[in-house]
């Protein structure tokens, strides 16, 4: 029995198609990532699966319960952390946790072992009002509240958005530990680098799933030579590379440009070409594709498909 099963789910808000025929499956005890930019439909999908919204088309199951007819059962067995920080800001850390424990019919003490690793980090501030916590602390508290009733499935909607880099790393370490405890986790994020930390991921854009796979397989599926190119004048380098005859695509990634070529090339070949075009201090290296490369590639082909049906 899969932890989450979505079959052909579509959802419209008036004219806008928020979800188009979305299907995927999260296995028991799996850490599954839903990767896509803002407005891709991640939150809507979460709300459909957590029984908060009704899909226009399609069916779904969570822990074996159909999402519409047995919504009450699902609500007992899942933990949900909405995208926006949704705890009581005027209640202290401890009061928030105690309240959510009580409404799920349990106590902090009963399930303390499950949240101990996380709670220990915010325990020194347990008398502080939740509204006065830092972003990272808030997310840890929200995770504790979502975990306190030992859910079978955890829905985390963009848990690391607006959180500093260190806290993000810590947060993902916590998720790994939770996965080891046998809790299935569906986590959404707009950060492509976080995709690598999931067992399997689904890439989503404009309400449609582009691809579902493990991060490793996805990266392997990228079938073109890829190089990272760097120069002091990134902007003009980008312009120049776009016009080069060997370029398939070129996109900026931080200080580097990711250059995909239509045939395998020697590093020296690229370097010489660019130096001749007047870019001094060129740096070129051959690289493996990242999830982001795959995502951009896929979304481009998808865009082409919709443009020329």
């Amino acid at each position: 029995m899969p932890a989450i099963l979505a079959k052909n789910i579509s959802k419209n808000y008036g004219e806008i198609e928020a979800l188009k025929d979305v299907s995927f499956q999260v296995n028991d005890g799996e850490l599954f990532g839903l990767i896509g930019p803002d407005g891709a439909g991640k939150s809507t999908l979460f709300r459909v699966l957590t029984t908060l919204l009704l899909a226009d088309k399609g069916t779904g199951e969570v822990v074996g319960h159909p999402i519409v007819s047995e919504y009450k059962e699902i609500r007992k067995k899942v933990g949900y952390m909405p995208g926006k920080f949704s705890l009581y800001q005027d209640l202290s850390v401890e009061e928030n946790l105690r309240f959510f424990a009580t409404i799920f019919g349990t106590t902090i003490e009963e399930n303390y072992s499950l949240i101990k690793d996380i709670y220990i980090q915010i325990e020194p501030f347990r008398k502080r009002l939740a509204g006065n916590l830092s972003g990272g602390m808030k997310q840890k508290l929200a995770l504790c509240c979502a975990l306190i009733h030992k859910p079978k499935v955890l829905f985390l909607d963009e848990p690391t958005t607006g959180v500093d880099a260190v806290s993000r790393k810590e947060f993902w370490e916590m998720l790994q530990r939770l996965k080891e405890k046998g809790i299935a986790i569906l986590v959404s994020t707009p950060y492509m680098d976080e995709a690598e930390l999931c067992q399997r991921i689904a890439l989503i854009q404009n309400g449609a799933i582009l691809e579902t796979n493990t991060p490793q397989n996805l990266k392997k599926s990228y079938g073109h030579p890829l190089y990272a190119v760097k120069s002091k004048d990134t902007y003009n380098l980008l312009k120049s590379l776009r016009e080069a005859h060997y370029t398939r695509s070129v996109l900026p990634f931080g200080e580097f440009l990711h250059l995909s070529t239509n045939r395998p090339m020697e590093i020296e070949q690229i370097k010489n070409d660019l130096t001749r075009k007047g870019f001094p201090g060129i740096e070129v290296k051959k690289i493996e594709a990242t999830v982001e490369d795959v995502f951009l590639e896929l979304s481009e082909t998808e865009a082409l498909k919709t443009e020329r049906p």
């Binding site: 908060l52 009704l54 909405p82 949704s86 009581y88 005027d90 959510f100 009580t102 409404i103 799920f104």
Partner: protein, 369 residues
Amino acid sequence: MFKVFRAFVTKEMYHILRDKRTLLILFGMPIAQILIFGYAVTNEFKDAYLDIYDQANDQMSKELVQHLQSSGHFKVNRMIQSEKELEDGFKAGTTKLAVVIPYGFSSELSNGNAVTVQLLADGSDPNNANTLVQYASTIINGFQQERLHQTDNPYQVEVEMRMLYNPQLASAHNFVPGTIALILLIISAMMTSLTIAKEKEIGTMEILLVSPLPPLLIILGKVTPYALLSFINAILILLIGYFIFDVPIKGNILVLLGVCFLYVVTALALGTLISTASKTQQDAMMRSLMGLMMPSMLLSGFIFPLSSMPKVLQVLGSIIPATYFIEILKGIMLRGVGAHLVIWEILILVGMTIFLLGMTFKNFKIRLE
């Protein structure tokens, strides 16, 4: 289940006690409102200023002026000498009421002829003008009666007035029941609709819905603290009315509190009904102000009598719970009647409550949309 309910109420109490704005609305507003109605908004007046244009300036006219002043309601501002001065006074706004006593007042009166005393009032403030003219003419009539008794006119019709249940016509008798109706509505309906809308706004409603809590429990947990607080407020207003403004409570206090409780439930049902339709606090606020507060203030008979309104407004007034609640309160508090004499109003209120609760239950969403 009871443990969950208690946790909910405790949480709600924290919200209320930690938010100074809520506390101010809960306890500052009722007290401020009743004191404002009590001291400022009143139809009674003492020592109103009036101008006198005494054209006669004889024995009798002086006695009349004396009579007006000794009533305790009026003080003579100035004696006017010309019609121009009279007009200037009104234009400048310094004159609100002027009494014009005609030439030969004494002689005409003692000859048994009809004499006309003219009262001029500033009609741009009609309520005030009306009251002033009424008071003044009553006093002048009284003066006439006194004089007539000295002559031997056998034919007289005397009017004797007595205001039952409120002999002094104290406006406190009217505004205390009205204020209770308004305050209970504000706290029970507006505050609960606000607090439910707040959970939607900050997103906690999503978490509460994705939990084993039955929706009914969420609502009950949220409204119970406000029900208690509005009840405390009702008692507070009754006490202020009783001790500061001498508003009597002639009927059975238990029946009175029972009716207050019923009205609290009505208002809570209204509040939750509003909250089912509003997504944000601002939305809930606008709906309760426009949909509840304004009509309850204007169309319940609290400020303006319903019977003198156009038919449409009368019908509107008759579907407002406050109309019946105020009627019941006045019956029990001022006339001291038992529940059986206001049973019709009570039944209507019960009916409305059941209808509203049904609507709320039907409209309550188990999902986000």
